[in-house]
């Protein structure tokens, strides 16, 4: 469903992603691991459509060219990004935000909008999934939420949006063990034959709960190693040092290339 060919991304002249190639099939979950600064979050934002990157290459979702689209069009095409740092929006009611989001996407797809009462049912189901109380809906989006609440709100949004491709950027960071269990439980419940997920993380911990079909290791903006979930265990034991050393020459070359 997702094809990523020779994706590069630079910000302010600094190359972050280098000729990244990736294929994601239907109903796949893969873990994307890598050290700090390896480009994991940039990859997520490149898919979601954040401004400010110089991007080349090709990214298609079900054949549609994502790189040409505004962020809202990508959401309508089925991309959902779970933010590492969900943004606080004081004054905007969470339920209103969620319903506006869902109906915007439905409108863009030519589907009928969901009325207030039906939406309440949709959201109740999603709330149960992430063990949220109803008052969450009536608070401002993420404003004053704890770290765990913000991440649960991300999974809640994913449950409501029902994306084709979910990219979860360090959804485990800042979570205690209970919150991690809830978030991972939500993600697992949302597995579906029509959905694939990219789970970006620093740690093996999350992958104990969400068992990936594949694990890719990102170092210096490219995938240096791919394997099954045992690769994550290997990384947990040995760190990234092996891959970083392997890559020394290649990354120097590509930096030189980017500057010229």
């Amino acid at each position: 469903m997702l094809h990523v060919n020779n994706l590069t991304a630079a910000i302010g002249g600094k190359q972050i992603l280098n000729d990244l190639n990736l294929e994601v099939g239907d109903n796949e979950i893969f873990g994307l691991l890598g050290p700090n600064g390896s480009g994991k979050s940039t990859f997520a934002h490149a898919l979601a459509g954040r401004d400010g990157y110089d991007i080349t290459g090709e990214v298609t979702l079900d054949g549609a060219d994502l790189l040409d689209m505004e962020p809202e069009a990508r959401a309508a095409a089925g991309v959902f990004m779970g933010f590492q740092y969900p943004v606080e929006i004081p004054g905007v009611n969470n339920m209103y935000f969620l319903r506006t989001a869902l109906n915007s996407v439905r409108r863009a797809r030519g589907e009928t909008e969901v009325g207030a009462r039906d939406f309440l049912n949709v959201s109740k189901k999603a709330m149960d999934l992430v063990e949220m109380k109803e008052d969450f809906l009536y608070r401002s989006v993420n404003a004053g939420f704890s770290g765990g609440e913000k991440k649960r709100n991300e999974i809640l949004q994913m449950a409501i949006m029902e994306p084709r491709l979910a990219v979860l950027d360090e959804t485990d960071s800042g979570l205690d063990i209970d919150a991690l269990r809830i978030v991972a439980g939500g993600v697992n419940a949302l597995r579906s034959p029509e959905r694939s997920m990219v789970v970006i993380t620093h740690y093996q911990r999350l992958l104990d709960y969400i068992k990936p079909d594949f694990v890719h290791v990102l170092v210096d903006g490219r995938i240096v190693k791919s394997g099954d979930h045992t690769l994550a265990l290997h990384l947990e034991a040995n760190g990234y040092a092996d891959f970083e050393n392997d890559l020394g020459d290649a990354s120097e070359q590509s930096f030189a290339g980017a500057q010229s």
Partner: protein, 415 residues
């Protein structure tokens, strides 16, 4: 034109003194701190004077004003319209026209109008005192708790004389009473004109008033308002102003915390489009011990509009134990819009806690991206963010129908 001011009111000396004040002190200029951003030339084109009778039929108020349950006084071009007004209300409430009240109880009303020279802040206030004939009087008996809001509606329909009516509103709360008063200022027509409304409020000991000001006159008008408040001990004053209409919309408060442990909480929203100039001049004076005050103002400025927040906290000698805070946050939506925010603090007492802060910002790009990544188109995301910013002031209003009216005026959805 109706009767001359001398004929409609016995307090001739007070009026003459006010005119003398103008003669002597002149009109404000850009050099006056409180009038720095006012369009002085344009203001000079207005004709302030005694009420000018309406030459057309009274406009349909309909959706121009919020629908409130309760009594109301409607003033059209400076004169109370008895047909549109409902002067009867619950026990403990006394409503009358200012014209009647000054005729029948001149001594009682004198305190609101016979101002010594130092109490007149500027020529426009003096003109209001000199020419103001009619308006609204709201008196609440000691101990009365009014469950329904009182609505005072001012309607301006200027004609080719460029008239600006001078109207007075008097609100008196007896000891231990509680009330809500909504003042809605609107107008009709595309003629240039204005309104100059002066509200004087006395809140006796232990009394509580929520006062909502909705300024939504047409863009062809100028609006000057002055709200002068004196608070007794343990009293509470909640002011919520929505400065939305007029080419120049001015909302000036002077709140005197004259009794100990009084509390004043002022909040407001100014939301400018086109080339509107929306001016808030706030002066909170702590003259008694252990009083608290809060000023929370938000501005949204689009197109080539200008916002002004000039907020003063004066802590007079002896007002020890004062706790005062002020905050002004502004959202600038266009590179042609501007905001001028200025705190003025003068502290002459001991053990005073005073905080102030001001911010001027643009739409949060990360919030825009977050919303768009959820499929919300950029235009809609922008609207949500702006409304979210403004709603935090709207939410302070206790009356739902007023909130609904404001949201409709701002083009918000009801949430």
């Amino acid at each position: 034109m109706t009767a001359s001011p001398t004929a409609i009111d016995p307090a001739v000396t007070g009026r003459a003194a006010a005119l003398d004040w103008v003669e002597l002190s002149g009109y404000p200029t850009r050099r006056n701190e409180a009038w720095r951003y006012a369009p002085h030339k344009k203001l000079a084109e207005l004709s302030f004077g005694p009420p000018v009778a309406l030459t057309t039929s009274v406009p349909d108020l309909g959706d121009l004003i919020p629908a409130l349950d309760g009594p109301r006084i409607v003033v059209v071009n400076g004169v109370v319209n008895t047909e549109l007004s409902t002067m009867t209300g619950p026990t403990g409430l006394h409503l009358s026209s200012l014209l009647d009240a000054r005729r029948e109880q001149p001594d009682r009303l004198a305190v609101h109008f016979d101002r010594v020279k130092s109490q007149i802040s500027d020529a426009y206030m003096a003109l209001n005192i000199a020419f103001g004939g009619d308006g609204a009087v709201v008196r609440v008996d000691a101990g009365a708790t009014l469950e329904v809001p009182i609505h005072i509606v001012d309607v301006e329909v200027p004609d080719e004389t460029r008239n600006a009516s001078c109207t007075g509103v008097v609100i008196e709360l007896g000891a231990g009473s509680s009330a809500t008063v909504v003042e809605t200022r609107i107008g009709v027509g595309a003629d240039f004109g204005g309104s100059n409304i002066r509200t004087t409020i006395t809140i006796a000991d232990d009394a509580s008033l929520e006062h909502v000001l909705l300024q939504n006159v047409p863009a062809s008008h100028m609006h000057l308002s002055n709200i002068d408040v004196t608070q007794g001990a343990n009293s509470k004053f909640l002011a919520r102003s929505f400065n939305l209409g007029a080419s120049y919309g001015r909302v000036a408060y002077r709140v005197d915390l004259a009794g100990s442990r009084a509390h004043a909480d002022l909040s407001g929203l100014f939301f400018g489009f086109g080339d509107q100039v929306l001016d808030q001049q706030i002066n909170v004076v702590h003259s008694a011990k252990n009083c608290t005050s809060r000023q929370t103002y938000r501005g949204v400025l689009d197109d080539a509009s200008t916002g002004i927040f000039n907020g003063g906290i004066d802590v007079l000698p002896g007002a020890d134990g004062t706790d005062a805070e002020q905050s002004n946050k502004n959202l600038i939506l266009s590179d042609r819009a501007e905001v001028n925010t200025q705190p003025r603090l003068e502290i002459l007492a001991d053990e005073v806690a005073c905080k102030h802060g001001a911010t001027v910002g643009q739409l949060d790009e990360s919030a825009m991206y977050y919303m768009r990544s959820r499929g919300i188109p950029a235009v809609e995301a922008r609207r949500l963010l702006i409304n979210g910013f403004a709603d935090q002031v709207v939410d302070e209003v206790s009356i739902e129908s007023v909130r609904t009216w404001i949201n409709q005026r701002l083009g918000h959805d009801d949430v």
